[in-house]
Amino acid sequence: MEEQMPNTGYQIRNLNKFYGKFQALSDVSLTLPEGRIIGLLGKNGAGKSTLMRCMLGFLSHQGTILLDDDPIVHRDPKVFEHVAFIPDVSGLDDRLTVQQTIDYIRDVNPRWNEHIATKLISISNLPMKKRVAKLSKGMKTKLYLLITLSLDVRYLLLEEPTLGLDIAFRKEFFNTILGEFFDESKGILISTHQVEEVEDILQEVIFIDEGRILLHEDVDKLKERFRVVSLPQERSEEILAHKPLNVSRSLGFISAVLDSSLEFEGATYGRANLADIFLAVAGGTNEAV
């Protein structure tokens, strides 16, 4: 019996992208395997969108992007036989009705799964005859999710998918993805500002800043590697001696995310979340992540 070769996922080697003279991506090299949920975190303008658009063939680039060992070529639609993309809630065509949108996506996609689609339609409560333009943001997201998750693809790229949605919808969004799409043969890359809501589902994380990859690591290992250290204000020099990129001061205490190997007598230690770790690695304020 012929043995099936395992899929190698996305392999990115020495990726560079210029907009005129501005370098948006600088020598990016990454391996994104199947069966993982990976977060792409970075400040505004860090290069998250550009990286995703290069991975989809939307942008010309220098360097190599391979998907299961096949190179991604600029504007080659073949990539969409394996990858689905959700840009943001405003990405649907508001001239079509809900039914027309579903019919269109179904008929142009050979990998449309009618069984999943029927199931998602039945639980979605979407008004089929209504124009997309007249749907609420939440309904639009539901529709985008429906047409995306009804495709038998192996990779899902999400770019700020829950921007502008309320908490209930955001939670429902990620629950649906985990419930209806993800398994060990599939991969998800999520770029989001709202780190805290995906923190629990991420298995790996990539930090990107000014077009460079700062870090690509397993989330659990990363959280073991860093911790929040708090000391009274008068002992602030002890923390500042380690040159943390981000410190916070409140109620007479100074706190910073530092390497877990560092010990301070009488210090309080806390578990760092991804946003804290990002700021410790990239610098900046909480608002920027």
Binding site: E81, I105, V108, P110
Partner: protein
Amino acid sequence: MKQFRALIRKEWQTHRGTILIPLWFTGAVYVIGILGLMINFIREGRLTIVTGGMKVSAMEASVGLYGVSFAMLMMLGMVSIITAIILADGMINGAFKRKCEILHLSQPVSMLKVLGAKYALLVLGTFALSAALSLVNSFVLSGLLNIWMPVHTYYAMVAWAQGSVGMLLSLLVVASYYWLSAALFKRKSFFMGTLVILGIEIAIAVLNYTGKLGIPSLMDYIAKLIGIQVHIEPHGMNALGLNLDDLIALQWKSVISWLTLQKLVLSAVFVAGGYWFYSRRELT
């Protein structure tokens, strides 16, 4: 084929309003015409036609029918061309302007199919609708004229057939040029495309004035490309010893010409250029 049908259907659903402009225009003309006839009927108590007191021979009536059918088709042709110009920009840049380009271009469909569906509906859709409306118009016109004078519907049909060929060729050239322009310019493509023509024309005029180069005018050439030449004038025809059938034969012969070939080649170049530019766009 399923993908192509889906793309055509989507283009129809998203541009139906524009594609149907010739239908709305024809409808408006009919409403005005019917209103005119009703007013006439109310005033005169019967349907009349103004012939200036002249006696119209069967030959002259047929020439009139041929000419009026042709003129009506040309008018609709103009509307179709304007429709095609609007559509070219809408089909190429509409999704970009509405921020849904990524949805449409993140489907596993070849660029050839995506653009093929757009172009097919742009040219063939617009043409088919206008040709069908013109056919109806020709029947209605010959039927109406038959109330007052003996005319042969055959001549209305020939005018429709010949005019349709001419309209298709003109539509092809103009739609393809603005298709290229839309692929080149994401915004204000009509304005930019027209500006390019004007720019070239001004450059030619300057070169001719300063260097006495005698370069032919681009505008004249464009007028030749999109115009449909036809001479229908009963007295002139009589002087030349031509009858309407001779004129029809001459008109058919003019279809197979060097100019027609130029129209086809230029259209193909514009379409290929549009494909080249559009498929190299970056989706930011």
